[in-house]
Symmetry: C2
Subunit: 99 residues, 2 copies
DNA sequence: ATAACATATGACTTTCTATTCATATGAAAT
DNA sequence: ATTTCATATGAATAGAAAGTCATATGTTAT
C-alpha cells in the first residue's frame, strides 16, 4: 500500500460540509439546490465542495435541464463509510468526539 | 450511518505527516525515534501527530524502558486503508493526484 | 543526586484551506 | 433577445490547523 496517494482522498472527505453532503446523498441523488436545502448551506459553498468531490470520484453528476444531479459513488465510498462507522462505534468515546 | 461523527476520524488521517506515520507503522510497531528516522521528520512534530492518532485509536502505545512503542490498530485502520486503496486505484487518475 | 536519553507539551507563528461575495455561465421560458 | 432560474467559478478574506522552538517530564544509569 502506498498511503501517500490516499492523502487526497482523506483530505477531501475530512470536512464537515462535504461530510454533510455525503450524508445527504446517502438518501439518494439530489440537485445542488436540494442539497443546499437538506444541509442548510449556501449554494456557492456547496458547489465548491461538490466540484472537489467529483474530482475524487466520490460523486458523479448528470445534467437534467437546468439542474445538475449529484450521486454518491456507491461502490467504494459507502463500504468505506461502513468500516469507519465500525471503527468509530468500537473505538471512539466521547472525548474522541470533541469539536 | 451518522456521518457527522466520522469527521474527526477523517480529519485525523488526512495529513501528510500522519499518513507517513501510518505507512511506516504498517511495517511494524516502532518507537518515536524510529518513526522519526523512517519518515525523516522532527521529533516534536511526530509526537504531536502521534498524540492525536492515539486519541482516535488509530494507534496504541506501550512503554518499554525509556521508549514508547506505537502500533497501528490493525483491526479497523488497515481494512479501511485497503478499501481506500481500491477506490484510489479504480477511480483516481493523475489529475486526482495533484498536490 | 545528577546526567543522559526518550518523549511530551505549551505557546507562538506560519501555512493552508474553507468560506464568502461578487460575478460568470448556461439552460429554459417568454 | 431578454429574463429567470440553476449552478459554477475566481479572488479575497477569515479561520483553523500544522509546524517550530523552547522547555518540561519521565526513565534509566552512574
Amino acid at each position: 500500500m502506498k498511503c501517500s496517494s490516499y492523502y487526497l482522498f482523506f483530505d477531501t472527505i475530512s470536512n464537515k460540509t462535504r461530510m454533510a453532503i455525503i450524508e445527504s446523498l446517502l438518501r439518494g441523488p439530489k440537485s445542488v439546490n436540494d442539497i443546499c436545502g437538506s444541509i442548510n448551506e449556501e449554494q456557492s459553498k456547496v458547489s465548491h465542495s461538490l466540484k472537489r468531490m467529483v474530482e475524487c470520484n466520490f460523486l458523479d453528476v448528470k445534467r437534467e435541464g437546468k439542474q445538475r444531479i449529484y450521486r454518491l459513488n456507491q461502490e467504494t465510498v459507502v463500504p468505506i463509510l461502513k468500516l469507519v462507522d465500525k471503527h468509530v462505534s468500537k473505538f471512539c468515546n466521547k472525548e474522541c468526539m470533541r469539536k
